[in-house]
Symmetry: C2
Subunit: 111 residues, 2 copies
DNA sequence: ACATATACATTGTATAACTATGTATTTTAT
DNA sequence: ATAAAATACATAGTTATACAATGTATATGT
């Protein structure tokens, strides 16, 4: 059944998908990184590695799709909260269009 | 709106997706490379570059998911036809499961 | 005390899409 | 007749990103 191929493939599918997922999650609420991972794990079957998410959030910030602010906790480690920028919201809309077209295309060819 | 980001993102989404698309197309018929590109272009919005497809088909062959055979033409350049192997068919089923779970997850978080 | 969970981050590796380029044949347009 | 475009394969180099491994530091449960 070629488990090795399947494993590599799933990893490749996540490329790009994870940015889309993160922006979707941040559309309605602001979250800090660790919380975002937990949210996605709770509501979907998707597991995002920490070593994936933190660089991803930094990329999104550099691209001006999200902003972040540190929030001190009364107890515990400070948290970095992320919010969508207006650019981020517009871009997310474009991404959704592309994604749903892709879904439709794949549905068509997988009959 | 960050066109640069969007362009890169679409390219990343294609990683993995294209292998899935190619296997889906080959599920019901055998095709040669150039024809496969035309088929996908005709039935979907997806454009596969030649420099992407030929290496992809070679990978799939090396992974034992497809086989190929040369077919001479009465006129014109010989064509290399690709067919799914039994391993390819099984793997495709696993891929479909993952893909449709992913779809569902994304639908959930993009509300 | 010790393990686990929380919360951030970086480095190195592997993989795959795409551009550019190349070869060769056939068809279409001028 | 000849040039351009389409058909049909292929490879090398560039770029981007997921993930494992590793590191720092605090808090909580046993």
């Amino acid at each position: 059944m070629n488990i090795g191929f399947l494993h590599k493939w799933k990893s490749q599918v996540k490329k790009g998908t994870l940015a889309f997922i993160a922006l979707n999650v941040l559309k309605d609420n602001e979250y800090y990184g660790y919380e975002l991972i937990e949210q996605v794990k709770k509501h979907t079957k998707i597991e995002i590695a920490e070593g994936t998410l933190y660089p991803l959030l930094n990329r999104l910030k550099k691209e001006n799709l999200v902003t972040s602010k540190w929030v001190e906790q009364e107890s515990g480690i400070p948290r970095k909260y992320y919010t969508l920028t207006p650019t981020g919201e517009e871009t997310l809309l474009q991404m959704r269009t592309f994604w749903f077209d892709l879904e439709k295309s794949i549905k068509k060819i997988s009959k």
